[in-house]
């Protein structure tokens, strides 16, 4: 059976709301409009305006309201129309949500989910195209999830809602309409994925490629191309940026001895940098070539379609980087490049 990511998210919300009356959804256009991207479609009809709450355009206000309700044991799912707008509420995500369990010495945990589309879409310009994975992924007290497939979306969103801590849940607009096969198990309402575990989407022995969200699909396509050229790539779908599954990543690199990281966000202090540092810390001696880091170009996102395409990783960039890593065989040789 196939299911779109949109339906996966929608059904996960629906089931968790059905299972627990403390769960509610709040944000701009989540109710009568059925969600700017229709992720909350049908929920207003089913659960009423008390549990599917349309707000004025006040990210700081409604995110903080969500946090306050979570302090009292409700389980809000706060939708940001896009994660770019979460900047207006970032103090509540960082201070009011992430730090309160610690500041209160465990008295006040904060079971809240902040969700919405993250990263570049298509043709929406510099302000609407940023990836917030690295920022939120740096903050103690937050868990940061990044689904790729429909199974990821269902399993991780359910896990996020049931989790007692604040979760930042980064979706991707361009994946909403994509269909993925889903297992019967994944369709069960009890289905749930563990937070903090990466998934090996494709096993391989020559090189490890890490990716998350939309880039997992790109990495898989790159792996197919590489296969034809005799390079057998292992593709890791991170699923969680925080906690980062260092164990899975390092085990893979210890096998392949080569690493390419892929992300759409800005390069500096990005997820690729962290993965590189994690591998250097844990598996330095196993690395046979410099880590190849692929990220969005270090520029605000341009509007023009041709420029925009150049600003984000493409499948051929991944192929090229993987080859580069494979042709460099010994550490010392690398410095010649």
């Amino acid at each position: 059976k196939e299911m779109t990511v949109r339906d996966a998210l929608n059904s996960a919300l629906d089931e968790e709301m059905a299972a627990d009356p403390n769960v509610f959804v709040m944000g701009e256009e989540v109710g009568e409009y059925q969600g700017a991207y229709k992720i909350t479609k049908g929920l207003l009809d089913k659960y009423g305006p008390e549990r599917v709450v349309d707000t004025p355009i006040t990210e700081a206000g409604f995110a903080g309201i969500g946090v306050g309700s979570a302090y009292h044991g409700l389980r809000p799912v706060i939708e940001f129309m896009t994660f770019n707008f979460s900047m207006q509420a970032i103090d509540h995500i960082i201070n009011s949500a992430a730090k309160s369990n610690y500041m209160s010495a465990g008295q006040i945990n904060v079971p809240i989910v902040f969700r919405g589309p993250n990263g570049p879409a298509a043709g929406v310009g510099a302000q609407h195209s940023q990836c917030y994975g690295a920022w939120y992924g740096s903050v103690p007290g937050l868990k940061v999830l990044v689904p790729y497939s429909s199974e990821d979306a269902r399993g991780l969103l359910k896990a996020a809602i049931r989790d007692p801590d604040p979760v930042v849940f980064l979706e991707n607009e361009l994946l909403y309409g994509e269909s993925f096969p889903v297992s019967a198990e994944a369709l069960d309402s009890s289905f749930c994925l563990p937070i903090g575990k990466a998934k090996i989407e494709r096993e391989g022995k020559d090189i490890t490629i890490t990716a998350f969200s939309k880039m997992v699909g790109y990495a898989l396509k790159a792996a197919e191309i590489l296969e034809k050229e005799g390079i057998n790539a292992e593709v890791i779908n991170l699923r969680s940026i925080r906690p980062l599954d260092r164990a899975t990543i390092n085990a893979s690199v210890r096998k392949t001895n080569r690493l390419v990281t892929v992300e759409e966000g800005f390069p500096q202090h990005g997820i690729g940098a962290e993965i590189c540092a994690s591998v250097v810390e844990d598996s330095f001696g196993y690395l046979d070539a410099p880590v190849e880091r692929i990220a969005g170009a270090d520029v605000p996102t341009p509007y023009a379609a041709n420029l925009e395409r150049m600003a984000f990783p493409q499948i051929e960039d991944i192929v090229r980087a993987a080859k580069r890593a494979c042709y460099r065989s010994a550490p010392m040789a690398a410095t010649a490049s």
């Binding site: 770019n84 879409a121 043709g123 929406v124 170009a297 270090d298 960039d317």
Partner: protein
């Protein structure tokens, strides 16, 4: 219908309070034709955008202005070149009214290098330093402090830089939904406190995407927030360009004279969905019909003719001219070149030293690694 009754009540209230301006202050023929042409330009340009969007010539979010022309034309045509306009994602028409050529706006929408931002900004981010159009802000409320800062500059120039004749005014345009956002109130306070030459122009089109103004706002009369923050607040029929123009004149005059800010609520309506991607299923057909019947262009046309300010033929000529202008803009945009590869890395900084520039002081934009992020740009 409840909405209509409600608005009725407001209007009556305002008339009672003598807050609704006197329609008798007329405009000259030249002014009338200028305003008419500007309104037609706004309408025809946006209709063309819809066509071009559906033909795949422009992409992403495209928010059209149809129905609200009386606000842009009523206000902006009163400005000097040195005055500043700050807009939102719904910014094409504000840019046009302020004088940015249709060619430059259309090319920008096509993502072409002849666009007013060389294709780097896009629909939601129109800038023209020459015309003092300072953007194009895609985040709700974000443009309001920036506009307040532009107004602060006029005062600074007068008081600190001793440019005694600097009487430049800033207009900040934004919607009803935005008037619930914290930045709006923070700036009302500072603008009033410091008597800044700014006019906060709320284009209350009754909806913020699919959120009705009445469901979003505890006291829906936005103009009242003016007095609450110590500045004049005015409500005006935003479908009547003459009324808008009179209110605008007064507010702009006040700002120019250094007497401080004004909040103006223009009751208007958008004739299309929120953006070209919006199915627009929530708005009541009666409501749409009510406002369609008050089309600001039709109304103004009638006024011009009835008051003998223009003949049918003159107006037709304007319409024809504008059709040509817009056709020409499309042709121009279509034929213009897409940005070159080098543009990707240009303009990140005014001074890019230290950011991986080459020995000639220019970006190393042809670095083969640059799309991989590892390039130091």
């Amino acid at each position: 219908p409840c909405m209509l009754e409600f608005m009725q009540t407001i209007v009556e209230l305002l008339i009672d309070m003598d807050l609704i301006v006197n329609r008798d202050k007329l405009l000259t023929k030249e002014e009338g034709l200028e305003v008419y042409e500007d309104m037609i330009l706004g309408r025809v340009f946006e209709d063309m955008c819809a066509q071009m969007y559906y033909r795949g010539k422009m992409f992403g979010f495209v928010h059209l202005y149809n129905g609200q022309e009386a606000v842009s034309s009523g206000f902006i045509k009163l400005l000097k070149k040195e005055d500043t306009v700050v807009s939102t994602y719904r910014d094409h028409v504000h840019a046009l009214s302020k004088g940015v050529p249709a060619r430059a706006v259309m090319s920008e929408l096509f993502g072409k290098t002849t666009g007013c931002c060389r294709g780097q900004g896009g629909s939601m981010h129109m800038f023209s330093a020459e015309h003092n159009v300072l953007g194009g802000f895609a985040f709700i409320g974000e443009g309001i402090p920036v506009a307040t800062g532009a107004a602060f500059t006029s005062k600074y120039k007068r008081e600190v830089l001793k440019e005694a004749d600097c009487d430049h005014v800033t207009l900040a345009f934004f919607g009803d939904g935005t008037a619930n956002n914290g930045q709006f109130f923070e700036c009302l306070n500072m603008a009033a406190l410091w008597k800044l030459p700014i006019i906060f122009v709320v284009e209350n089109n009754l909806w913020a995407i699919g959120m009705s103004h009445l469901r979003a706002t505890s006291d829906p009369e936005i103009w009242k927030k003016g007095p609450a923050f110590g500045m004049p607040g005015v409500h005006v029929d935003g479908m009547d360009v003459l009324k808008v123009r009179e209110v605008a004149k007064e507010a702009i005059g006040r700002a120019r004279r250094g007497e401080g800010p004004t909040l103006v609520e223009c009751e208007t309506y958008r004739f299309r969905g929120h953006s070209l991607a919006d199915p627009d299923e929530l708005r009541d057909p009666d409501e749409k019909a009510h406002y369609a019947a008050r089309d600001p262009i039709t109304q103004f046309k009638k006024y011009l003719i009835e008051n003998k300010l223009a003949s049918e033929a003159e107006l037709k000529a304007i319409e024809k001219k504008i059709d040509e202008v817009v056709e020409d803009a499309v042709e121009f945009a279509d034929e213009s070149p897409a940005p070159s590869r080098s543009q990707l890395l240009e303009n990140v900084f005014a001074d890019p030293r230290g950011f991986g520039i080459g020995p000639d002081g220019r970006y190393r934009c042809e670095d083969p690694k640059f799309t991989e992020g590892t390039a130091q740009v």
